[in-house]
Structure formats: C-alpha cells, structure tokens
C-alpha cells in the first residue's frame, strides 16, 4: 500500500498487481515443469480443465474456456478483462500499459477467433 501513488483507482492498481503476479506465477510454473512450448502448455491446461474440481460450467462454457486457451496470452488477458470483468478500455489500458486502440483491436480479433472455434469445433 505504501507504493500506491494515487494516480489511478485502487481497483485498477490492485488488478494490475494481481495480473502481473499471476502471469509471473504461471511462467515460473512453466519453467519448473520444463514446458517450453505454449501450445503444449495450453493443451495440458485444456485437458486438466475437464477434471478440475473447481470448474462449475456446462459443456458450452467448457468449450469457451478451451477456445480461450487457443488465444495468445495478451489477447486472452484483454478478452477476460473485457468479457468477464466488464472493465472499460481506459482501465484495461492502465492495467496492461497498452493503448486503447490496440486493446480494441485485440478484443475484436479475440472475439472473432472464439466465434470461429465455437462454430467449427465439436
């Protein structure tokens, strides 16, 4: 809390910390498990998702989660923040340090890819 400079909302500041720490944690985990290919890591996550005791969705939501795992990391982040957390582009820009225009493009592309995945995958 002593590092909070009050130049943004507390919520976005905490969100940024949580995002960065989560990414760092996942990268360390990948490194320790000697997982070098992102496709392989995402495939393993998709496979374990079905067996996860904390997944509480239906088949469609499972498919959506698998579709998300096919996205690049940045696009996935933007989509999650926009779609699930309903953050504004300004807030997302503050958290990720990306321009609003770039975020809109990323979100638009992510939506398209997910739609294609949902339509073309069983």
């Amino acid at each position: 809390m002593s590092n909070f400079r009050n130049d943004s909302q507390l919520y976005t500041w905490l969100y940024r910390i949580a995002t960065n720490e989560s990414i760092t944690f996942l990268n360390r985990k990948k490194q320790k498990n000697n997982i070098s290919l992102d496709e392989r890591a995402d495939y393993d996550l998709a496979e374990t998702l079905a067996d996860s005791p904390y997944f509480d969705g239906d088949k469609a939501q499972m498919k959506l989660q698998k579709a998300l795992l096919t996205l690049p990391e940045k696009q996935r982040l933007v989509f999650n923040m926009k779609y699930y957390d309903d953050l504004k582009y300004d807030e997302i820009s503050e958290i990720l340090g990306t321009s609003v225009g770039g975020l809109k493009a990323s979100y638009h592309i992510a939506v398209k890819k997910i739609e294609d995945y949902l339509l073309n995958t069983d």
Binding site: Q31, D56, Q61, V111, I114, E115, L118
Partner: protein
C-alpha cells in the same frame, strides 16, 4: 441489453448465447479465510531474509534443464540399442582385487632402491692412505733435517775444523773454496799472498 451485448450479438452470436458467467468456483470458505491467509503469508515473507531465500538452484539450471534431459534420454536410448560396450573384466577380478593390492604394496615396500656410489670405499681408502703417507714422509724428512741441524749447531766450531782437517779429502777442496768468503779466506791463510796461491793452484791443477 446494453450496448456491449448488442455489439456482441452482431459479431459473435454463439459467444453471446453462452453468456459471461464465470464457470469456476472457489473452495468453500475461501474468501472468509482469505484475509487470514494473506496476513500469514505477509508475515512469512517479512521474516524471510533477503539474501538467503533458503534454497538455491545452480545458475542457469532451468535454462539448461531441457537439453540435459534430452541428453540423458539419448544416452538411455543408446544403452538400449547397444547394451554392451565391448569391454569385460576377467573372472574374479573384484574378488581378488584387495589381495592383489595388498601384495603389490608389500612388494614395493620391500624393494629398496639400489644406491650406487660414485666413489667406492676402496678408492676412498686408497686415496686416504696415499695422502697419509705423503704427509708422514714430509714430516719425517723435515724432522730429520731439523734434528741434524740442531745437533750440528751444538758442536763447537773448533771441533768441526779439527775434524775436517783430519778427515778432509781432495774432493772437499772445491766445496770449501766455494763456501768461503774473502774474510774467512784471510783467516785461514794469513801468511800466504794471493800470487803465491795462484802459483800453487796453477802447478797443482789436474
């Protein structure tokens, strides 16, 4: 329906139909215990010394891990393809090894390195004997000469003169003349002139 949902309906109707409900749950009591868990974690982190995280891995351990595992896998694969490396040990090698080592060590202790001297003891003794003889000889002669001179100096001069007059021979004359100086010559022949002496010498020369 808000603007976002309207736009999503147009762009991705399948996605819009699924909805944005979060399909994940958390363990029971997660949020109730979260503050306590966070406080305890903060306390643990604060107690950890900065310079010693407890356990360290070698430098570049994770970076080289994949190549190290691949190399190990290749070696294991090679072993399955070539089970024998072509070398074998004689029968009973390890069983006799300790006894063989002990025997060899004992033999090496008994064996003494021969020491060859540059100069044998015989040559040393001979050299020492020669030197001793030379020194003894030198001492003997020097002591004889010394004794003779000492004895001679104790005899009065007149006795020596009387002896020489009684026992001199013709062969002693040149020797006597050689060792006489002019002063002594006048003492021996005070009444004889030089011309008479010369006449005598010329008449008696052989």
């Amino acid at each position: 329906m808000n603007e976002r949902d309207i736009n999503l309906q147009k762009e991705a109707p399948t996605l819009a139909a699924i909805g944005n409900g979060i399909p994940f749950t958390v363990p029971s009591g997660y949020f109730e215990e979260l503050s306590d868990i966070l406080k305890s974690r903060v306390l643990v982190e604060s107690m950890r010394p900065d310079d010693n995280p407890g356990f360290n891995v070698p430098q570049n351990y994770f970076e080289e891990l994949s190549s190290r595992i691949e190399n190990r896998a290749s070696v294991e694969n090679l072993r399955t393809l070539v089970p024998s490396d072509g070398f074998s040990l004689p029968e009973g090698y390890f069983a006799e090894l300790s006894a063989r080592i002990i025997t060899r060590v004992e033999n090496s202790l008994e064996r003494k390195t021969p020491v060859r001297r540059l100069f044998t003891s015989l040559v040393s003794y001979a050299a020492a004997a020669c030197i001793t003889v030379m020194i003894a000889t030198a001492i003997y002669y020097s002591s004889n000469t010394y004794n003779f001179n000492k004895q001679l100096s104790e005899i009065p001069d007149q006795e020596i003169i009387n002896y020489l007059q009684a026992h001199s021979t013709a062969g002693d004359t040149p020797f006597i003349i050689e060792n006489l100086n002019s002063g002594q010559m006048e003492a021996v022949t005070p009444d004889v002139s030089a011309e008479e002496l010369e006449l005598y010498i010329n008449s008696t020369t052989l």
